[in-house]
């Protein structure tokens, strides 16, 4: 199953999102909250994110989602740090909350990594009030 790694400056955001995803996509496995710094402080840590990617990978690949600012830069750095390793890891350019839910539901039903990324990225520009 495609794993998911969640990145934000705030660990509360990624922990909360992980809990929410567990409710909505209960049979999805392999979602790791990699928000904040190791000590829980506000910030992002590319090394911590790269370790989360390793942990989320069961062989089907990992999609990384991030919210704002340097969270995206740290996520991209983490992916580059793993270049030499045999992990199919990609960044989904999607809103963090909506993208994560869509990606988890897609991964849960057995989609491959490209389909999971598409599910997340299809959330870009989604209107909330029609």
């Amino acid at each position: 199953m495609v794993g998911l790694v969640l990145v934000s400056h705030s660990v509360k955001i990624t922990e909360g999102l992980k809990d929410l995803t567990a409710e909505i996509a209960p049979t999805h496995k392999g979602i790791i909250s990699a928000g904040g710094m190791e000590d829980g402080a506000i910030g992002t840590d590319a090394i911590r994110i790269s370790e989360a990617i390793r942990q989320a990978n069961d062989g089907d690949g990992v999609v990384v989602l991030a919210d704002i600012g340097s969270g995206v830069m740290s996520a991209e750095t983490a992916i580059e740090l793993l270049e030499e390793e045999d992990i199919n890891v990609k960044f989904a350019d999607a809103p963090l909350v909506e993208g994560t839910i869509a990606a988890a539901v897609s991964a849960m039903v057995g989609s491959d990594i490209e389909a999971v990324i598409k599910a997340a990225e299809d959330c870009r520009g989604a209107k909330k009030i029609l």
């Binding site: 710094m37 910030g43 590319a46 090394i47 911590r48 340097s70 830069m73 740290s74 750095t77």
Partner: protein, 204 residues
């Protein structure tokens, strides 16, 4: 006795830590008031974690980059972290610095920062000091100057870069939300970058 590269990195760290409040105050004007605090935390870890006895400059720079990635927290983490790690590749296995390698390391750092931050010169970032510094460095070196003389010219250009950042609006990062209200303030990243180059020059 610690190695020259360790002592140089320690000197950079001490300079950043000494200017923690100044850098944070600059960032308070246009950013999120964390540049000095974040960089000081990162370099405190660098001083503690880089091997004091290994003279391999590439290994020391790589460790510096990895440490900054995991301890800075804000945007300067991946930006400076990538810069040091790219520069590390130029110095892999080397224990001495010459002008040619130093120039190549500056080029590698610029390319790394651009890849990471997707920024160009003129967007009120550290690149507004680093790119002119590299150009001045290469020009001096090509004219037969020593490494230290070329670095002197690089520092002059980097300081001019800081002055230039006061005249332009930010288009990258948190400061870009301010639009023209960011004009008049110097960029904190260009400032810490210039401090880094000045420390290296003084160290040589």
């Amino acid at each position: 006795m610690s190695t020259r590269i360790y002592d140089c990195l320690k000197a950079i760290g001490e300079k950043i830590i000494e200017n923690k409040d100044f850098l944070t105050d600059l960032d308070r004007e246009i950013g999120d008031a964390d540049h000095g605090v974040n960089m000081a935390r990162g370099f405190q870890a660098v001083i503690e974690k880089v091997d004091q006895d290994n003279p391999d400059i590439g290994a020391a720079l790589k460790k510096t980059g990895m440490t900054l990635l995991s301890t800075v927290g804000g945007a300067s983490g991946p930006l400076y972290g990538t810069a040091y790690m790219e520069a590390a590749k130029v110095f892999a296995g080397k224990t001495e610095v010459n002008g040619e390698d130093f120039g190549a390391a500056l080029d590698a750092a610029i390319a790394g920062i651009q890849k990471r931050g997707k920024a160009e010169k003129g967007e009120k970032t550290m690149l507004d000091s680093l790119i002119p510094a590299k150009d001045a460095f290469s020009e001096k070196l090509a004219g037969g100057a020593s490494l230290k003389e070329a670095l002197d010219a690089a520092c002059v250009a980097a300081n001019e870069g800081i002055e230039f950042t006061k005249t332009i609006a930010a288009t990258k990062g948190r400061a870009s939300y301010l639009g023209d209200r960011s004009i008049g303030h110097q960029d904190p990243g260009a400032t810490s970058l210039t401090m880094t180059l000045e420390t290296i020059r003084d160290f040589l």
